[in-house]
Structures are given as C-alpha cells and as structure tokens.
Amino acid sequence: MEAKIFQYKIYIFIFFVLVFSGCQKYLTEENPSQVTTDFLYTTPDGLQSAVNGLYTIERQQVSESESGNFANIMGDGGTDLDFNRAAVPPVSRYQLDIVWPAQGIISSWWNNKYKIIERTNSIISFGEATQIDDKVKKAILREAYLYRAYSYFWLVRKYDNIWLNTDPTSYLSIDGRTYNVAKQEDVYKQIIADLDKAIEYYGTDWTVVQGRFNQGVARLLRADVALWLKDYQTAATQSTKIINEGPFALEAPENIWINDRKRSSKEGLYVMQFNEFATGGGPVHKLPLVFTPITGRMPGCIYLSETGGYGWARIFPNPYLVSLYDSKNDKRFNAWWLHYYTYNNPAFDFSKLKYHFGDTLKRGDNSLLVGNNYFLYAQISCKKYWDWVKVPVTTNCYNNVYMFRYPQVLLIASEAYMRLNDNTLALSYINQIRKNRILASAPNQLLTTINEDILLEEYARELAFEGQRWFVLKRMNKLVERVQKYGGIVDFRGEPCPNPLYYSCRTNIQPYHVRWPIPQSAIDAMGGFPQNPGYAQ
C-alpha cells in the first residue's frame, strides 16, 4: 500500500510540474547574437551604435552589386563632364527609349536615402525622449539630425517631389498612411531645422574624426542649402565660418588621395571609409575599376599599380573636361588623371610587332585597338578612385571615397560673395584654390575676374567626378544647356566617335530631365503618389 501511495505522489508531482511550469517565459525569444531595437533606441550605447550604423547604410550604396549606381552619381553621370560607357549609361545618356522610373538606379538611391531617414527618425524621436545626460545626448543626436538633413537634401534636389516624414515606422503604423507630395519649402524648412539643430549640438566642437560627420559638414550643407534658397548671406556666413574656424586646409594635389590612404588627409570633411583589414571595413568595392580602362587585356600590357590596376572601362572624363585644364601648369592635370597608357610588359615579345615596349597605345596598333575599342582601351583614367594599396590584378578594392572636400567650401564662399556682388572676396576664396593647384610661374595662376561660367569651370577642374556637378548645374539652371553643348564624347584625340550612343545625351536631354522620376516601385507601393512630369506614368 505504501508503495502505491508513493507511486501516486510521483504521478501527482509529475503532473503539476509539467502542467503548471512557466511556459510563457520559456517561450520568450531572445536572440543570442543580435541586439534588440529596445536596447538600440533607449540607451546611450545603443543610440551611439545606431548612429554609427547610418554610415554603414550609406556605404551599402558602394557594395559590389550597387557600385555601378554609385559610380554613376560620383562619376558625374549625365553632366557636361563625363563619357559614360557602361555604368548605367542609359540614364547618363538621357536615353528616351528606356523606362526611367523602372531603372534600378532611380530606386536604389531613393530607397537608400529613405532607409537612412527612417532610422534617423527613430534615433531622434526615441533619443530625444530618453533620459540621458544632455551632453552625451547632443553628441550622439547631432549626427542623426545631420544625416536626416543630408538625405532629404539629396532627395529633394534629385527628385523635387518627395514625401516628407519625421515619424519612426513600426508594424502598427504601416497601414492607413497617406502619401502626399510635400511642398518643397516644407522640405527645406525641415532640412534647415535639422541642420540648425546639428550645428547647435556641435557648439564649439570642431573635432574631426576620420569618416564621420562634424561641424564642418553641418555648416557646408547649411551653406549649400542657402545657395539653393538664394540666401547668399547665410551661404557666405556659414562657409567662411568653416574657413576661419575649422581645422581644414588644402594639400598638394598629388597627395590628397595618397594621404587619405595614410589616414592623414586635411581636405576631407567627410570621407566614406573602407578598410580591408578591420572589422566594419565594409564591403569590397569596385570603384577604381569603373574609372580605369581594360588595358591589361592588350597584348604587351599588364596591370600595374601606377596605371590603376585592373579595369572595367566604364566612366571617363570627356574631352571638354580635359580641355579645361592648363596641361602644363595645372598640377591637377597629371595628378588626378592618367592620360596615356603604354606597353608596359617587359616580358612580352614585341619583336614581330610594329609597336614596342614603352610605346603609347595608339589607334590601330592591333586588332583590339580599332573602332569603339580605341575609346575603351586607351581612355583617360580618373585617379581619384584608385586603390594604391591593392594587388593590381585583383578586382577587390578598399580605398576610401571623398564625399565632401574642403575646396567645395571655398567655392561656395566664392560663389556666395560673387552673388552678393563682393567680387574681391569672391576672388580671394577661389584663388586660394588656384594658388595651391597651379604653378606660380603660370601667367594665369590667379583669377582676376569672376562670373558664373568661370566659377563653373573651376568647379569642374576641382570637383569633377566627385558627385557634385549635376547638382551645381541644376542649381544654376544650366544642366540642359551644358549637356547639349558638352555632354558625352564626340571625338577623342581627333578621332571621330564611331558610336552615336556615346554622345546621344546631347540630343536626348529634355527639360524634364532636371529631376529624376519617382521610382515606379515607390509609386506602386504608395498608391496615388504622382509621377514627375514628363516621365511615363
């Protein structure tokens, strides 16, 4: 009997243990290797790492699959300066037979910027509401404000008609939204508010940490926004504030990109970071290949570091851009561009050929250098994107990308004072650049007059292939006119271009091309959001 009672007791015990043990807690999920958004938006460490993540999102634009879209923008696609052979060429050529709203580049930038905006919305709205030390909070949130302003500024200039939103997204708020076109003045109001907040939060802090936003970026953007709104006084004030108080300076043109590789650049306001050997060093990118010809495929040529290494031959400077430089006196002419390629393989047997080691590649040298190939294999490289450290034959690159460089501040200051009719000051700022870039022996080292065209030429010489040209032309209302006049490549070293597509931008461009279309995927998803005028509905 005792044994039986004992048995009963065991059964009852098992029953209770099994039925009433806490299941709910057992089923609560916790990811052992990932942080939660709870931690992210409510603690100083979380907020800081979220802000850090913003840079990573922006850098996703340069990943292997996206580098064509990124290179198109950075390589001044669709302006008066570039010859775009293969980095999303239809968009650069304003091709009319393609459906623009469906192009990947149109949605890729849109999506990337809005992704950043949503994350900044979350960081700002949760971060401002969190009880943490005010100083700490400001040091974290100023970059979020700046990122939001930077992203909206990019969107409003590129697409004109956009959706404005500063609320974070949650699963509860995905339905019942209305998507209306924001008034541009409201967008700019938000941008200015965010920039002013960022500037306020920076206070007197001018520290520059490589690869991060700083007060210089905040004021540069504030000055640029002011130019767009024709508020030249603010543009002047903000840009001269950077010049007078900031830690930035011009460097010798041949050193700018090499110094960056040594992590000691003084020209960089914001330099997107890559690092092969560090965690967080980002994805492999292919930007150098985009701007380098495939010369290594030529019999007698090999890929070397001093010729840019492996190439894809996608975007090149057009003859107009090259013609802007004083080839003898402008140090930038050779420091930033490689004009000629030579047969550089000493092990190659040239004995039976009409060209020899050390000769420059010439049209008709061999069967590869004929027709369009001459435009392809012997083009001019932009050295601004070269990875000086990588193994020349590898396609994997990890060099940094200058997003904002100090000369832009000088050019903005110059333009602002020109618009304010103070040509003396205007010339003083633009000549700071020329003093550094052009040999003192040159007769025209310093400019003596200034107007919009002179300014645009200096913009081209200094900031070509740094992603600013399209915006500058649009702001000055000269995009269509200039593309019609200089776009693409009509001839190269006197050889007429055999491929009419290479200069078709001149005839294709339409007035409505001054803004990109709203991505079709976004219109489909938002329902009722209007397409920009001129583009297929």
Binding site: Q7, Q24, L27, E29, Q34, T36, N52, G53, R177, Q210
Partner: protein, 1108 residues
C-alpha cells in the same frame, strides 16, 4: 465458461514486426487463452507467507505478488472462498500449495512456464502428451517465429521459438491445436496419435487487422478513422540509394516525390497533396521513433521497420503547429523476444551506375557546321539573301581552329564529364534477440556510392543499438543509440562548363599534361583542370540518443505512462579549398571551413488509457505533454590568402588574411496534446484530437496555437445487412475535418532585432547596429490549414481485391509572406500573414491478388492521385476596390495554381515567304520564334505582341500514378514498378539560354533541329552569332511528363535444405535494375531535373540477403 484471469502477461512473442503485431496479439489473448510465462524463477524459489482469515483467492493473489507464479482457475469454484490461516516461511511452492489445498476439492498442476492451474479433484488429469514441430511460411519456406499455438478450449498455449520450432504439452490425443499468426490464415489440427506436427501457414490477404503506427502509439487499421498510408520497407530495400525520401516515390498515393539532389548523399523533395505555403517550407515533418527531425538523410533504410504517412488533419492533428505539410513517421527496428535465440542477418548489394541521357549534344562536326550555318544565316539575314553561299572558312574560323578541324582534334566532352560503370555498394549486418524481459538489437551499416562526376562520392557508416528491459510488472525501460557519419565529396566543376565547351580543341598537350586553356583564348578554363586545384567536401555526423521509462500502474488497468527523452545532434563540416594553381583565384589560394551544429532535445510525458467495456465500448485516450528546444550554431573560417597550399584545406591556418563568422539560433516549443479514440461495437469509430503548441518563433502576441480535429469511421462490413453480402469482406467509410499549422517562421522572425552595421574610422572599427530591411512583426503566427477528408476502404471477393479511394480539400490561410512596404517607410518588407491557398484532390489505390496459390502468386497494385491547387487570396489588393489582384512579379495569380510561369506562347517559327510585315511581330525575321497574339487588354487579339499576350503556364502535374506487380513461382519472385507523372511542364534553359548553349551561337549545347533556309524547322529558331530570336525563351517550356520502369527485381530464395547445409536459415539472391526505361519528351538526364543538375542514374544491382 466465464474465465477470470488473474494473470498479467508479458507476451512471449517475437517477430520482425513486433510493433505491428502487438495489438493484435493482445486481442487474441483477451478473447481466448492464457499465455504461459517463460520463467527465470524456478519451482525451487522459496516463499514466505503469513495470512489470517483470508480467502484462498486472496492467497493466490498474494503469491502472485510475491513471486512470478500465475494462477489459473475457474472462478466458479466455491473452494476459492474458503478462508485460510497460514504462517509459512521459506517453503517451496509445492509445499505451500499442498498446505493450502489440503482437504479441498481441487488440486493443482504447475506448467512449465510457472503457471499454476487449479482443477477440480473430481476431474483427474489425463496423461499429458508433448507435441513438437516446426512452423514455416508456406510461401517462402522461412521459419515463422512467434506463432501462437493454443490447445483449443483450454488455457494452454505457447509460441514458436527458434527456427519456428515449438513444443507444447497437451492433455491428450483428443486435443486440437490452433495455430494463429498475424497476416496468416489460422489452422486447426487434431493431435491424434501424432507427436510431431509441422505446419506451414499461408498468408491471409486481409490486412485490416494490421497494426499501424499513428504517432504516440499504434492503432489497428480497422480502428483508424483518419488518412494514413503505410509503406512496407521490404518494398523499398532493393533500390540502390541512400535517399530514403526518394524511395517513397510511387509508394504513397498523394505524395509527390521529385529528385532534389542526385549526387551521392543527396535527397529528394517530398510534397504531400500540393503546395500550401508560398514562402514557408512545403516539406513534411519527419518523425523518427517519436523524434521530429529536420532531415532523415542519414537514416539507414536497413534500420527502418515501418513508415507511416499521415495525410489528413485528424491524423496529422497530433503534430499541431508542424503537421500541415504531412507527417512521415519512421519506426526503426528493435529487438524482439526470440526466446534467447540470436538472430543474425546480412544484407548486401553491389550496383553499377551509368548516366541515362534523353538527348544528344552536337558532335564536334555538327557544332562546326552549326557555326558555319550561323555565319551564313547572319549574312543572309543582313542582306535579305537567304541563298547566299557559305562565307570563306577563314572568315568563320581562326587559323588554329582550321588546323584542328583539318586534323579532327575534337573532344567529346561528355566522355570527360562522367565516369562509366560507377560502383555503389551497401553492406548491413544486424543482430537482435531477447527474451520476455530483455530485448536487444544492434546493427552496422556501410554504404559507398562513387559519383558519376569526377571527385564526387560518398561513404557512410552507421551503427545502432537498442535495448528494452522489463524491470518489474510496473516498470519498463529502454534506450537506443543511433550514430552515423559520412563524408561526401562534391564535384569541383559544373557540368555546364563541360557540355558548353567548344568541342574543337585539345585537352591534353603533347606531354599528356592538362591544357589550362584548351581554346587558347586565355579565359575558358579546361573544366578538368579544377579537379587538380579544388576540393569540396562535407563531413557529417549524427547521433540520436533516446531513452524511455514506462510505468504501468496496477491501480488502474489500461493506464500507462511513458517518459520519453531524446537528444539529436548533427554536426557538419564543410570544406572548400582552392590551391594556388586555381585559375579563378587571383588571390593566393582560398580555403574555407564551415562548422555547424544542430542540437535538438525532446522531453515528453505520454499518458495512455485503454479500456473495453462490455466488449462494445472501446476507449483509448492519449495525453501528451512535451518540450522541444533546438539550437543551431555555425562558425565559418575563411582564408583569402594562404601562406602555402601544401596541406589542402588544412593549410587554412597559414592564412595571411582571414574572416571568421559566427551565427547561432535557437527555437523552443512547448506542446500539449490530447486524443480520444472511441469505438462502438467496432462499427462506429470516433476520434478527437486537440493539440496546443507554444513556439518561441511565433510573435509575442501569438505564442500559442490550438489545433483541433475530429474524425469518424463506419465499419460497414460489421453491420448485419453487410454480412449477408458474401462478396464484401471489408468496407469502411471515413470522414475527417480539422486544423493544423505550419510554423514556417525562422527563429527571431518576429523579433525586433538589429543587424550588424559595423563601420570603421581610419583603422579603428566602430560598433554599429541598425534594423535591416525587414520590419519586425510581433503578430507573426503560423499558417493554418483546414482539411476535410473523406475516404472508403474496401476488400472484396474473398479479399482478392482491396483498395481505398479518398477525396480531400485543404484551405491554408494566414500564409507567411513578405509583404512589400513602401520603401519611404524605411523598410522593404514585413513578414506577414496574408492570403489563402486551396488544394483539392482525389487518391485511389487498388490491390488485386490475381492468382494466389501455394506455388504461384501474382499481385498487382495500382495507385492514382490528382491534386488541384489554387491561390484563393493573394498578397496584393486593388487600392480602390479592395479585391485581391495578381502579383506578376512573384507569379502569384488569383484563382490559379501557385507554381506557374507567365510567358508568351510559342506557336512556331517564321518562315521565308510569310507575311511578317503585317503580322503582330512586324520586326521578326525568318527563323525567329512566332508567339501567339492571345489578347489585348480587352481579350481580343489586337495585332500587337505586348505584355498582355503572356499566358499562365501551369507547371504542376495533372495526375500521377504507379503500378507495381509481383509474380512469384515457388522460390522465384519477379517484381516490377512502373511510375508516371502526367501534365508537368518544366522550364528547360538548354533550349534558349545563352549560358547553356540554348542560343545556338558560340557554345555547344543540346542538339536540336534548328532552322536554316534549307531546313524550315518549325520547332527551333535559326542559329546566329549576332541577332538572336526574340521570345526564344518560350521554347523552354517542355512537357516533362513521363512513364518510367523504376525498378524490376528478380529474386530467388534458396531451398532451406540447401541453406541449412551451410548453416544458414535463409539465403535470397536478387538482381535488380533501376530506371530501366523512361518515356519522356524532356531533354535531360532526368525528367525531374535540368541537364546541368547532377544526373540521375540507371542502375544494375546484384544483392543478397542472408539469415544465420
């Protein structure tokens, strides 16, 4: 005579199909006789007994409790109520009984198995006679172990033991012996003067009494109300493969098994009754010995005892949130009671494999001609002069090529892509045995499959040990250990790189060294070259530990509690290596090792209660509670630049640059299940099941899911009116309805986690996290499938013909999809429950025993199934009307099947002289693909080919069927298995895609009847180097229906007198052929795979089964 049975039995039975037979035997026992109990106690056991004023009946009970003796008596004996006073210590049973029965009117006899029979004195015992004999299977001559032998009208009985031999004591010559055995017709034999009675039993065609594994227990087939199909493993074993899923093809009606990965160690895909999930898995749940496994690839088929497939909600319902894609229950072999005899058997086969192509490549000459045709046609096309002569050879070929064409230095790449007569072998040794207390089994298996492709093969070793031990009347325990390990070497080069390779070239140079670039273009690498520079292998180990404790408390007969615990551990090491010589690695070599580990635990408490009241009400209640935590760990180390490559993958440590990645996840589940089975008079059967599953992967607000189901069945043949219809043997009508889930959510899918977003400033890494592109959804829940099922099972004409027909309709709602979000919200999508899919279908199985006698048997089974699938509600809605609309980007169309393509319709080839200019394709040229102008937006052909002319192409099979037949004559048996799938469309990229030679230009491919001016083909476009036909992709849609002789086996079982001479009890040898004949239009190595997949093989096998 009403018999009162005091004894509780452990049944002295042994047979291969232990689990299947258990219920049947229990039934027999209750209805008829007592079973004797093989003793480990002896009559010399000494007992102590002290009672005061207790009835004789109680004293017997007490003795039963203290010893292993069991009493049998007629309950009507008044003597039993006589009160006794005893104080006995240390006495033998004979002495004790003598004391108890002193002065009574009864006496006793102790039978050999510790059973004590109490009989009246007035009926003196006749002289017992001992009968001996051997029982064999009439069909095979194989000894039958575990046959039930009873003396008719008495309680005396035994089982056949070693070699089918038995020995039984009968009261006298007038006794009659009854021999019964599951699956066999029983026999009655009068003893008479015989002292040796050998019996051979014939198989009984009725299988309705078969015991079926249904999950958390077994049921008699006649008691089942849901849809369950069982597969006999003997039908599967002769196939030479390690792919257990693939073996099920054609064996289970309603199961659509397709080739998944034909490489050694690969497995097939299984789909039950149509696609139910858009994003989630459609694979069934595999449960091996009660343990849910994510893959059954490593299970050795030789260890499998039975396979049950649960097909409707009432059967699947016990697996709740995981059962909706069907449940495949696999029961492995365990030891059985062989009366301490050790059963040893060996099964082995050796097979050779070859490819079985249904196409030809262009030969080198044909390919050269193709190039000439392409050049000429291109010129003709440009000049609009189709009769132009061929251009000069020098314009079409380089000097090197012309030289090679002249000297015929050609390569037939297929010769180099595959090995021939590739071996495959399997060896399995198993031992098992036991007695009524202890049962054990152990097996060792070895499988080796060489690959058809170079550097691919697989070697697998497995071992299994089981032990079951009765501790006492109340407690029983057991354990099993299953271990398997295999190494799979994966081929290093893609097959496409072989067949598309230019055949005019040389692979080896004059020194017989491999040429790196056979064409000499500096980029097309000789595919053979990778065999020397690459290595890719998987090392897999799996360990399954399982233990249980069973308690059968005495206070409530029929109640049983089982505690079940198991661990399932799978570890994988994937190695990937490229040496310095590898042409594709610009960096110095490459090595990557991935270690991943899955650990799955299961702890279950199962309570069952069985009771039969008045023989009319049969009740079975099962309650289960369990938890299942699962953990996955993965670590990857990648070396991008190696210091040296001397040690292959083991040079990883010399890396100059490396990357390490780590990921881990876990998921937990808590479950409760209840099942009630009630049968009234064995005619009306009702089944109710409910399962509650709490899963960690479900959203915070939806942790628990509840899945109820109900079923009813009517055994028509037990009704009086049916009994009068002589030709009906069995008939059952079943209906069921219920809900089950699909927890197709990955871990943390509902959790708001942030992704790594590390950044760097200069050389300093900085920590960054941000949410990824998918917005977390804490409301995420399982997909729910509601199934209605109706079926009829029947057996007629003296059980000559049997079968079943079923109809089902399933609706799956709350489909897990990634709902696209406007990207302005900062997220691309959100995991969401949306939409509905419906599947309806019928299934039929018919088995006939055409000839059945002792020498000659011929049986045939036909099965047929048909499923219709449609998307009822989709993901996208019209913003205005709110109606569900087609999602073209995902190929999801409302009211259409899920697995469809959307493309133009091929109707021919444009010919010279056609009025192309005024056709809907005005820009077409002769030799281009002609597509149908189906409709403009208004449904009327509009004279223009536009996106509206695309049609929905249903890729799903219309129906499937199989026919298996088996003919046996004496010791020979011939079986064959035909299988067909009809109405399937597959997309074959080899017919148009440039990467597969489909475009007819610069790379080789599948030979086709292409268009030339002189050969106005209507099936294939013109070859070209520059201008390729538009819409040529429409040629890809090929009918992949097929009929196949999947297997034919001829076996011979040696007469036992021969095998016994060499000391073996049974020898069977067989030859078999697999995939012997296929009829299909699909151009590939298999109608279920594209030609670039690892090819399916055609096999010839020689095998042997030996029993010691």
């Amino acid at each position: 005579m009403k018999k009162y049975l005091y004894a509780s039995f452990i049944f002295n039975r042994t047979f291969r199909k232990l689990l299947l037979t258990m219920k049947f035997t229990m039934l027999l026992v209750f209805l008829t006789v007592v079973q004797v109990y093989g003793s480990v106690y002896s009559q010399n056991t000494r007992l102590n007994l002290s009672v005061e004023n207790k009835s004789m009946r109680d004293v017997f009970k007490l003795i039963e409790k203290e010893s292993d003796f069991r009493f049998f008596f007629n309950d009507e004996f008044t003597e039993l109520n006589k009160n006794l006073n005893l104080d006995i210590s240390d006495k033998k049973i004979d002495d004790i009984l003598a004391m108890i029965l002193d002065n009574s009117e009864v006496t006793y006899r102790i039978l050999e198995n510790n059973v004590i029979v109490i009989t009246p004195l007035s009926n003196p015992l006749p002289q017992p006679v001992t009968i001996k004999g051997k029982i064999t299977d009439a069909a095979t001559g194989e000894p039958l172990v575990g046959v039930n032998i009873v003396v008719e009208g008495t309680l005396t009985g035994t089982n056949s033991g070693i070699n089918g031999e038995y020995s039984i004591s009968v009261p006298g010559p007038e006794s009659v012996l009854v021999f019964t055995f599951i699956g066999m017709s029983s026999q009655r034999i009068a003893v008479g003067s015989q002292r040796t009675i050998d019996v051979s039993l014939k198989s009984d065609l009725a299988q309705l009494e078969e015991v079926v594994v249904v999950g958390y227990g077994t049921q008699r087939r006649s008691d089942i109300s849901g849809s369950v199909t069982t597969v006999k493993t003997k039908d599967l074993i002769s196939q030479p493969t390690s792919d257990l899923q693939g073996m099920l093809k054609g064996k289970v009606v309603g199961l659509y098994v397709t080739l998944g990965d034909a490489r050694p160690g690969g497995s097939s895909n299984v789909l039950l009754r149509g696609i139910r999930s858009l994003k989630g898995s459609n694979a069934p749940l595999y449960v091996v010995d009660g343990v849910a496994l994510s893959s059954i690839n490593e299970i050795n088929i030789d260890d499998v005892e039975s396979i049950s497939v649960l097909k409707d909600a009432s059967a699947q319902g016990i697996y709740g949130a995981r059962g909706s894609n069907g449940v495949i229950l696999i029961t492995t072999k365990r030891g059985s009671n062989t009366g301490n005899k050790v059963d040893v058997s060996y099964n082995g086969y050796y097979s050779i494999q070859n490819v079985n192509p249904n196409f030809k490549l262009f030969s080198a000459e044909e390919f050269v001609q193709l190039r000439r045709d392409a050049y000429r046609i291109d010129l003709g096309n440009a000049a609009n002069n189709w009769n132009a002569p061929y251009p000069d050879e020098s314009q079409m070929f380089t000097p090197l090529e012309m030289e090679r064409i002249a000297s015929k230095s050609y390569v037939n790449w297929e010769d180099y892509a595959f090995k021939k007569d590739v071996p495959l072998m399997k060896h399995d040794v198993s031992i098992s045995g036991g007695n009524e207390k202890t049962k054990y089994s152990a097996s060792l298996g070895y499988y080796y499959q060489d690959g058809l492709r170079y550097s691919s093969d697989m070697a697998k070793y497995s071992g299994k040990v089981t032990l079951d031990q009765v501790i006492s009347k109340t407690f029983k325990t057991g354990l099993s250990i299953y271990y398997t390990t295999y190494k799979q070497n994966v081929e290093t080069n893609s097959w496409t790189s072989f067949i598309t390779f230019y055949p005019v070239c040389k692979i080896y140079d004059d020194n017989n060294e491999l040429v790196l670039y056979p064409i000499g273009d500096g980029k097309s690498v000789n595919p053979l070259y990778y065999q020397t520079t690459r290595e890719n292998s998987n090392n897999i180990e799996r360990l399954i530990l399982n233990g249980y404790l069973e308690i059968t408390p005495s206070f409530l007969p029929g109640l049983k509690y089982k505690f079940n615990a198991s661990l399932n551990n799978r570890s994988l090491e994937n190695n990937n290596f490229r040496s310095f010589e590898d042409p594709s690695s610009l960096t110095q070599g490459y090595a990557s090792i991935n270690f991943s580990k899955n650990k799955e635990y299961l702890i279950e408490n199962i309570m069952t209660y069985d009771n039969t009241i008045n023989n009319n009400h049969k009740l079975n209640v099962t309650l289960m509670q369990g938890i299942e935590p699962r953990y996955t760990y993965s670590t990857t180390a990648t070396a991008l630049q190696l210091g040296n490559d001397f040690f292959g993958i083991n040079s990883l440590g010399t890396a100059l640059k490396s990357e390490i990645a780590r990921s881990l996840s876990d998921r937990k589940m808590v479950s409760f299940m209840g099942r009630v089975n009630y049968s009234l008079k064995e005619k009306y059967i009702f089944n109710f099941t409910v399962r509650a599953d709490g899963s960690s992967v479900f959203g915070t607000n939806n942790k628990w899911g509840y899945f109820p189901s109900a079923a009813a069945a009517w055994n028509l043949h037990k009704e009086p009116f049916a009994k009068e219809i002589s030709w009906i043997d069995e008939a059952k009508i079943r209906i069921s309805y219920g809900q089950i889930g699909n927890q197709a959510i990955g871990s943390y899918g509902s959790l708001a986690t942030a992704a790594d977003a590390f950044y760097v400033t200069g050389d300093a890494p900085i920590v960054g996290y941000l949410p990824g592109n998918s917005l977390p959804n804490p409301n995420l829940k399982w997909e729910t499938t509601t199934t209605a099922n109706a079926g009829i099972d029947f057996s007629v004409l003296g059980r000559r013909l049997s079968g079943s027909v079923e109809y089902y309709k399933t609706n799956t709602i709350d489909l897990l999809v990634d709902r696209k979000l406007p990207t302005v919200l900062g997220y691309a999508s959100i995991p969401f429950n949306l939409g509905e899919i419906q599947n309806t279908g019928i299934e039929a199985v018919l088995t006939g025993f055409i000839v059945s006698n002792s020498d000659f048997n011929w049986s045939m089974t036909v099965n047929y199934s048909k499923n219709r699938n449609k998307l009822v509600k989709g993901v996208l809605r019209d913003p205005v009307s709110g109606k569900y609309i087609d999602d073209v980007s995902n190929n999801w169309f409302i009211n259409k099947p899920v697995n469809v393509d959307y493309d133009y319709k091929f109707i021919g080839i444009w010919q010279i002289g056609d009025d192309i200019a005024s056709s809907p394709q005005p820009k077409a040229r002769p030799g281009d693909v002609k597509v149908a102008d189906i409709s403009g937006p208004d449904g009327i052909p509009d004279g223009v080919i536009s996106a509206d002319d695309r049609v929905i192409i249903d890729m799903n099979p219309k129906w499937m069927g199989s026919l298996s037949t088996s003919i046996s004559y004496k010791s020979f048996e011939l079986s064959a298995d035909l299988y067909t799938v009809q109405g399937v469309i597959r997309n074959n990229p080899f017919l148009s895609d440039s990467n597969y030679g489909g475009r007819l230009d610069n790379v080789n491919g599948i030979k086709r009847d292409y268009w030339t001016p002189e050969n106005p083909s209507t099936t294939c476009f013109r070859p070209s180097q520059v201008l390729h036909s538009e819409y040529r992709g429409t040629l890809n849609y090929q009918d992949a229906s097929y009929v196949r002789l999947r297997n034919a086996t001829l076996s011979y079982t040696l007469p036992s007198k021969w095998s016994e001479k060499v000391g073996l009890s049974r020898i069977r040898v067989y030859i078999a052929g697999d995939n012997l004949w296929t009829d299909t239009k699909y151009l590939s190595y298999s109608p279920e795979e594209e030609a670039d997949a690892y090819p399916e093989t055609k096999n010839y096998t020689l095998g042997i089964n030996i029993k010691f």
